[in-house]
Amino acid sequence: MYLQTVSVEYSKEIAENVWVIGFYAPNVAKAVLPGQFLNVKPDASFDPLLRRAYSVHRVQGELVELIYNVHGRGSAIFAVKRPGDPLDIMGPLGVPFHLEGEFTRAILISGGLGIAPMPILGDELHSRGIDVVNIHGARSAKMIVQDDRLRNPIYATDDGSLGFHGNVVGALAEYLDKSDHSEESLRLFACGPNRMLESLASFCDGRGLPLEVSLECQMACGIGICQGCPVEMKGGERKYTLVCTHGPNYDVQDILLESLPVEHG
């Protein structure tokens, strides 16, 4: 884990309100595992005060990329960063996606900015010889990040303007129906709005599909020293798990998704 100031290479809009920020960080590029995040300080001011968590999106050599929505005051500051501007990052943080166990195909399901951790995860799985399919949904075509490097993408839009007309759960159902792959050899990874994760979880539960989810919740420290990021567990000894250090990636069986708030900020 490193705390350092790097220099921005670019920060640019790649789909409607989807921005990518890239910078060279050899130590992070080398250490980071899929599903881990960086905690980034918007600027030196105390307003905004706290760091923001961003999943590592992709690593190419020593170049690290994050993607983000311009949502509030923190991200608005990232959006006006220019090449050469300093960027204060801490990480990699969190427990990576759990990739142990037997599976031959992985379905990476993302809603909106939930696409963030998928490229680095897809790359890793691919290098392990696992088939990767991406199901990526958004409200409309213009919000979809159409990235040629995304492995086997299936797009879903609420308004039908691109790919499957409907949400990612619908697209997943269709894919599974058409697919010749045996469901036993599948592993699902998902990231997106909490309500999307809930409906995906109940779908997977019905079909007996193993699902790993990457969660978002309000954080202060990102390293386990504030106890600010609890999510309720489905039984077990402890009532809560801390998303920043025990997560953000969980087997959906272990947590109570309903305990996650709908709103942030």
Partner: protein, 314 residues
């Protein structure tokens, strides 16, 4: 030049401690943070039994500050003494145990359990806890309750006993005087202010408990004024807390009258800022030719302030 300071029988190698609840048990911190370079580590508030803490969400960001309602989540005194304390000692930390409780008996119980163990420099008593006997009202806003806790705990330990005061009272000086009178070695000023925030679209509170504890750089001027009020009220050492992010901030508290300071919320932005602040204080002392912390503590110069009796009302 030395930045060492002793209060009662606890010696701190520099005046920078980490504040309770903002540094976990001092063990979660990343590898680049060396706890032995800190003046001390104040633990998360420890209670008799383990506590899950409050439901989410527990955190909200505000302008230059944040709200929290962690609900004193902690492992409980048994696990603390069995697992956390030995690890902290091994890491070379000077350990101050912060204690939370909902009755005087419980404060006494936790402190006495700690007394059985080596390696504790002293205690900080968090009185911003709900007093069950008093229907859940905070001990911290009742001067007799704070006095009683101090009196009771003083009898039970020869170690450093610091009472951590809440700023949410009309006259914090009065509380400090009560602590001094009952034998406290120091007062820690301050715990969080009461704050609140809401989402306007859903019209719901941002944190589960509606109101929460307000901390961070936003509160610094108020915390400093509280330390000044306490400085004028008592002679025992003050531990200054509230919004400290830089060496300059820390110096303000020392100059106004604090003997030690604690860094809280700033650790969420930079967990390694404690030693940086300690170095900054030492550099300032060097620059000003100061040999010991005592030349700094309470050295505020008000000689040029105009007489407000003359300048003031009518």
């Amino acid at each position: 030049m030395s930045t060492e300071l002793t209060i009662r029988n606890a010696t701190f190698k520099n005046p920078v401690l980490t504040a309770s609840g903002t540094f976990g048990y001092g063990l979660e911190c990343p590898a680049f943070v060396d706890v032995s370079q800190l003046g001390g580590v104040v633990t998360k508030s420890i209670s008799r039994k383990p506590r899950d803490g409050n439901p989410p969400q527990r955190i909200a960001e505000t302008s230059a500050g944040m709200l929290n309602s962690i609900g004193l989540a902690n492992v409980g005194v048994d696990v603390f003494l069995a697992e956390k304390l030995p690890a902290l000692r091994k890491a070379g930390a000077t350990v101050v145990v912060n204690i939370a409780a909902s009755s005087i008996e419980e404060y006494a119980y936790v402190l006495e359990r700690c007394e059985e163990h080596e390696g504790i420099a002293g205690y900080e008593i968090n009185v911003s806890c709900p007093n069950v006997k008093d229907g859940g009202l905070s001990f911290g806003t009742s001067c007799p309750a704070v006095a009683e806790i101090t009196r009771d705990l003083r009898k039970r330990t020869e170690k450093l006993l610091a009472m951590k005061l809440t700023p949410n009272v009309t006259s914090i000086g009065e509380f400090a005087r009560a602590c001094e009178a009952e034998g406290a070695d120091a007062v820690s000023c301050v715990n969080t202010f009461v704050g609140m925030d809401i989402f306007v679209d859903s019209r719901r509170p941002k944190i589960a408990t509606i109101t929460g504890g307000f901390s961070g750089p936003a509160i610094l001027p108020m915390a400093l004024a509280k330390v000044w009020e306490v400085r004028k009220a008592v002679n025992i050492p003050i531990i200054g807390i509230g919004g400290i992010c830089t060496a300059e901030d820390a110096l303000k508290f020392l100059i106004v009258g604090a003997s030690l300071i604690q860094v809280g919320t700033a650790l969420f932005v930079d967990p390694g800022v404690g030693p940086t602040i300690a170095e900054g204080i030492a550099a300032y002392m060097d620059r000003h030719g100061m040999k010991s912390l005592n030349e700094l503590i309470g050295s505020l110069d008000t000689s040029l302030q105009p007489s407000l009796v003359a300048a003031g009302w009518e």
